[in-house]
Symmetry: C2
Subunit: 170 residues, 2 copies
């Protein structure tokens, strides 16, 4: 049976956000073992003009949340982007996962050709059909920010392997 | 119309591998402007026990190539993993893209429930159904290695933005 829009989105979003939460746990555990404040990791970035770990988590959550909201037409809650601690970041992921669970998959199905207009930067928008929007915008963005969060922690010595990135309910 | 297995894979693979080639171009251009040998970037990694840029490119190519080969049953060419220069890495991507173009999409379609057994590490294998294999193994791996390649270059000062990662024929 061909893949529905809900099946091409929700299970991937759930798995990757759950894995992201697991990756954060490993960051906290590493800081505890090495006896440093995990906040150092939360504020770290791979380049001075790249976003820090906190923003990577917020944007990964929003990639999934806004993608599902725009496709399904179900209004998503607005989050304040005020998380600074690992505990708050994990709560942000949990809130996003909980909201995803409230969206009826049937609201996503059949949106392959729905015109989706979304902001790109602060002043422009872009319009894509639902299927292209999912495949060429939402998914690449979600994976980008999950992988970058992983990379920031890995670069700081956190013991992570590919299995931490791929782990989770599948 | 629900998404076919070919549509859920080939266009994403083509876009992301093309973007990866574009990202490498920016790495070379940066090295030329700063007058250093681009080989320094090719051998760089984000952590001492992480894979260098060369391997990120090779594995990104193989994620797409092996994924399509296993799903479609079309035999893929074997590449030697002997690339060291940016020119060779770009040729590896081009060879992979050229091979993807030879695979009839119809050979991928209908493989949602096909049992796919694939190596995980050197001594074990895993079996997943085609749709889950694509969504929870091939796609996450492809995006992981493209993003990590981007991160290695970005960490080294190459002027890359999200649009370089998302650019390309969509």
């Amino acid at each position: 049976m061909p893949i529905s829009m809900s099946s091409a989105s929700l299970p991937i979003f759930r798995t990757m956000l759950s894995n992201l939460s697991h990756i954060l746990d490993k960051g906290v555990a590493h800081a505890q073992v090495r006896k440093f404040d995990p906040q150092v990791l939360a504020a770290d970035r791979l380049a001075p003009d790249m976003l820090p770990l906190t923003r990577q988590i917020q944007i990964a959550c929003d990639a999934a949340k806004n993608g599902v909201a725009r496709l399904s037409g179900v209004q998503a809650p607005r989050f304040e982007d005020n998380e600074t601690t690992f505990e708050e970041l994990k709560a942000r992921i949990a809130k996003t996962l909980a909201w995803l669970d409230t969206v009826p998959p049937a609201q996503l199905d059949g949106t392959e050709d729905k015109e989706i207009t979304f902001p790109v930067g602060r002043e422009t928008t872009r319009t894509m059909k639902g299927e292209a929007y999912l495949k060429h915008w939402v998914l690449p963005n979600l994976f980008f920010h999950v992988t970058t969060a992983y990379a920031i922690l890995r670069h700081n010595g956190v013991e992570l392997g590919k299995s931490d990135y791929l782990v989770g309910p599948q």
